[in-house]
């Protein structure tokens, strides 16, 4: 089946916290959930719109082709849906009984969480990015650990 790519601008509005209505050419759909097809590697490209049954109605290949207003609405809704706090600084890593308790400062405030295994729950990438999964399956991201403060790097060095 051919994928329905939205090439022009769309006029959308927020149906609720995490859904949008789409009006684009012949396409008039309500209550669609936008989902990033590459939420980790390329969050601004390939946004799929799913209807209530989970079927794809349309795809936007690049969020930047949208008008400022449409883009703001879409970004707002996705910000609501996707919560991947960015760790700005590692304040402490307390290693006891085989579990690592991290206390970090994120852009959403200070948070503490536990890591079960530093070998399988921490994924460092070559470009300095680090993805972390805590014992409750919440995700966190360090955009570039190399830019962290000396103290933060000291903690991170014990883990990655």
């Amino acid at each position: 089946m051919a994928r329905n790519y939205i090439t022009g601008d769309i006029v959308n509005r927020r149906a609720d916290m995490a859904r949008v209505d789409l009006d684009c050419g012949d396409l008039h759909e309500k209550d669609l959930s936008p989902r990033r097809l590459f939420p980790i590697t390329d969050p601004d490209h390939y946004i799929s719109f799913l209807n209530a049954d989970g079927h794809e109605v349309a795809v936007i290949a690049d969020i930047h082709v949208l008008s400022r207003q449409s883009r703001a609405v879409l970004e707002d809704v996705m910000k609501e849906y996707y919560l991947i706090p960015k760790i700005l600084e590692v304040l402490e890593i307390d290693e006891r009984f085989g579990m690592n308790k991290w206390t970090v400062r994120t852009e959403r405030g200070v948070q503490s969480f536990q890591i079960r295994s530093r070998h399988s729950d921490i994924k460092p990438f070559a470009d300095g990015r680090v993805l972390i999964r805590d014992s409750n399956d919440n995700r966190y991201e360090i955009e570039d650990w190399r830019t962290h403060s000396k103290a933060s790097k000291k903690w991170l060095n014990t883990q990655i």
């Binding site: 910000k79 085989g98 969480f113 295994s117 070998h119 919440n138 995700r139 060095n157 014990t158 990655i160």
Partner: protein, 768 residues
């Protein structure tokens, strides 16, 4: 936990708590609050707390300051749910007039309680008794706080001892249990080592005698004695060395074998969750590489540390006895070596971890790609796969270079300091000998430093200093192997300390007839998405149940839970009225025959593969099982018959034959319950009919669950369960469901049309 009789999941400040009670009284009068959920996110997704308090008819949400955000009356509710998003979730509801209310936002740490709150509101809105809803809330809170207060791991049941925190101690202490069985042999080795070291210490003294007494006095008699003594010492040293090395090697092999066996055995009993999150390459690396690193370290620790320590102490005593001033000079480099060693240890450990991670990636790449060599060839991606491997090893090499920069520099720096020590002894000691000789020649009583030093003493001292610096060097670089072993030990303990599959009912082996009940079963693999929600169904003994649904509907998950591959689900699964979590795990699984889509065969003969689950099966039993599975004849046609060696994943026989071998293996177990997970999905129609006939022979009188995409394979089923998005959509006899014209009816129609089209196309091809 409770506060003033109210269930809470986290401590609440008294001020906020009073405010919540006051708001409740203002809004809902004297109703009692049943529970308060403390969230970990605010409505705008910042980390913080908000509170959801529920009575038996209303609920309210207040913010971190205790100010009201939302209120809801259960009687007005159309629906309530937890909306799971990425990394967070919302408790929300919709009233009958269409108003949507966002009640609470939280991370997945609080999601289980959010689910409970949604069910609580819904069940009261639907008129369920309040007492029942409160009991369910109570159970959910108990479960939510049934975690180890020390490590946060989930406990098997409230108050249970945490598996992860049992007998936690120092890493070395934990691993010493593997040394214990070898302790006698190691003590013998140690004594032999001390003898060898003692013998080596005689040499410099004898050399001093040669230089000072034998040569200046031309004493050939004494020369002969000294040479003979030295010769005897060398022979004894060689004999002791040979015996010690052999015994030590045997101990090392035993230690590493025990450790490996234990890690492997433990790996067999780890939960599927561990394997869901850990690559097999990394597990293999731990069993092979890390075990060896630890073994080498343990041997070093139990032998060389003691020997080197005694050598060091012995030499220091001898040197101070010979000349304390020269002995002090010898000690000058020691502080530099000790401080350097500490700095080195801190710097090198992160690198060892990085090196290991990269090496684990290399191993994972190998375990992924080598078994998939057919796919690689089929898609002509040999070059790409090769360069992918080169990239992975390249990344490993890069980290290894960085690690080598530190690890290779350090021993050389230590050697430099040690050589400086030699230089000091030569320069000061040499000057001392010269001045002593000059003073003796001139008859001057005043000597350098006071006292005389002979050439023999200086030569002996140099020899002792060399021997002394060996243990110094050893202890300096010991930190390197200690850090490396520590890094390996952490990873091995990651397996040894990981939660085993819970087996609370060990020893409880009730007779099984085959009645299966799913009671309000909900399950999520990683909390982000509910794979099964509120599944309720009863399967009577002897029922043949077809489980159908689209891909991702939760069919295999349902079977995984029945097989107890995952035990952390909500609700209960009962077999003959017994909760399956309370039945002996090994006995329970032996009562269930499980045939998968991809039947796995081991690298062994056909016979041993069939008898895998029952190694003591007689030849006749195996033949009978093979006959029931329609496998005996094709096995008989194989040149090597039952002795045919199967390769990895059963290479050597066709897909359909492999599946029939898998069924025969199951037949031999004589299980009470049978589970077929897409057993005929990957074979052609003719093979399918052969397998189907094998299955039909096997299922007679046994409770059978069959997952199938091809609905034609379910013709014997007397009950059908239709799953959709983790929920039971339809359930009943095939006739009932066809009459209801729901999802099952639609699936049948689609498949009938597809089969018709296929047969027409075949007829056309034949008629051409």
């Amino acid at each position: 936990m409770r506060k003033q009789g109210i269930l809470i999941n986290r401590e609440i400040e008294d001020g906020i708590f009073e405010k919540i009670l006051q708001t409740k009284t203002d809004l809902f009068g004297e109703e009692q609050i049943v529970f308060i959920i403390v969230s970990d996110l605010t409505h705008d997704a910042a980390y913080g707390t908000e509170y959801f308090a529920a009575t038996d008819a209303h609920a309210l949400t207040v913010n971190g300051e205790g100010d009201l955000i939302e209120k809801v009356t259960f009687a007005d509710l159309e629906r309530s749910e937890v909306r799971r998003m990425y990394g967070n979730a919302r408790l929300r509801c919709e009233t009958r007039d269409g108003t949507r209310l966002e009640l609470l936002r939280f991370t997945y740490a609080v999601a289980a309680l959010g689910d409970m709150a949604a069910t609580y509101m819904k069940s009261i809105a639907e008129g369920e008794t309040t007492a029942h809803a409160i009991d369910a809330a109570d159970a959910a809170f108990e479960k939510a706080i049934s975690v180890c207060p020390r490590c946060g791991r989930k406990l098997l049941h409230p108050g249970a001892e945490c598996i992860g925190c049992q007998s936690k101690g120092k890493i070395a202490g934990k691993l010493l249990i593997y040394v214990k069985p070898e302790i006698k042999n190691l003590i013998v080795c140690l004594v032999l080592s001390l003898i060898a070291t003692g013998l080596s210490m005689i040499r410099p003294s004898l050399t001093a005698t040669l230089v000072d007494k034998v040569i200046p006095h031309n004493d050939t008699h004494l020369l002969g004695i000294v040479v003979l003594l030295l010769f005897g010492a060398y022979i004894l040293q060689a004999i002791v060395g040979i015996i010690r090395s052999y015994r030590l090697r045997c101990s090392a092999v035993n230690i590493v074998t025990n450790l490996r066996n234990h890690v492997y055995e433990k790996a067999q009993h780890l939960s599927m969750r561990f394997y869901d999150k850990t690559s097999t390459g990394s597990v293999i690396n731990r069993i092979s590489g890390d075990s060896t690193t630890i073994e080498q370290f343990m041997v070093r620790l139990s032998q060389e540390v003691v020997v080197q320590f005694f050598t060091m102490v012995g030499i220091v005593v001898i040197m101070f006895a010979m000349n304390w001033k020269l002995a002090l000079i010898t000690l000058v480099p020691i502080p530099f070596v000790v401080v350097g060693s500490r700095i080195f240890g801190k710097k090198i450990l992160p690198y060892y971890r990085k090196v290991w991670r990269k090496w684990a990636s290399v191993t994972s790449y190998l375990t992924d790609t080598i078994p998939a060599i057919r796919v690689t060839k089929a898609f002509s991606t040999e070059n790409r796969t090769g360069s992918g491997f080169a990239d992975t090893t390249g990344a490993w090499a890069k980290v290894e270079y960085k690690s080598a920069r530190i690890s290779t520099a350090f021993p050389n720096i230590v050697s430099f300091f040690v050589n400086c020590g030699h230089l000091l002894i030569w320069s000061i000691g040499g000057a001392w000998v010269i001045f002593s000789q000059q003073a003796a020649a001139s008859g001057n009583a005043t000597t350098f430093f006071g006292g005389n030093v002979t050439v023999g003493t200086l030569v002996a001292f140099i020899s002792y200093a060399t021997m002394f610096y060996n243990p110094v060097n050893f202890f300096a670089t010991f930190n390197d192997s200690y850090q490396n072993a520590l890094s390996s030990a952490e990873r091995v303990l990651d397996i040894l300390d990981a939660d085993e599959e819970p087996d609370a009912g060990r020893g409880n082996c009730p007779e099984m007839v085959g009645k299966i009940e799913f009671r309000d079963v909900s399950f999520s693999f990683d909390r982000t998405k509910m794979t099964l929600s509120h599944v309720n169904c009863t399967i009577e003994p002897g029922d043949i149940v077809g489980i159908v649904g689209t891909t991702g509907a939760g069919k295999s998950t349902l079977v995984n839970l029945l097989m107890r591959f995952y035990d952390e689900y909500e609700g209960e699964i009962l077999v003959d009225g017994n909760n399956i979590r309370g039945i002996d795990l090994s006995y329970y699984r032996s009562q269930i025959g499980y045939v998968q889509q991809e039947s796995v065969m081991f690298r062994d003969t056909v016979f041993h593969n069939l008898a895998f689950g029952k190694p003591d099966a007689t030849v006749e039993e195996v033949f009978r099982a093979a006959e029931i599975a329609n496998a005996h004849e094709f096995i008989a046609r194989l040149p090597d018959g039952y002795d045919t060696m199967l390769g990895e994943r059963g290479i050597g026989v066709s897909g359909g034959e492999r599946q029939r071998l898998s069924i025969a293996r199951t037949v031999l177990m004589e299980p009470r319950i049978l589970v077929f997970d897409e057993a005929t999905a990957s074979v052609d129609s003719e093979t399918e009919s052969q397998i189907q006939s094998a299955i039909e022979q096997l299922i007679a009188g046994r409770t059978t669950l069959m997952i199938a995409h091809r609905l034609s394979t379910l013709r014997k089923a007397n009950k059908i369960i239709v799953l959709d998005k983790g929920k039971i959509l339809e359930m009943g006899t095939p006739e009932e469901l066809l009459a209801a014209k729901g999802k099952y009816y639609k699936l049948i129609q689609i498949q009938t049309m597809a089969e018709k089209a296929e047969s027409e196309s075949k007829e056309e091809r034949f008629s051409e």
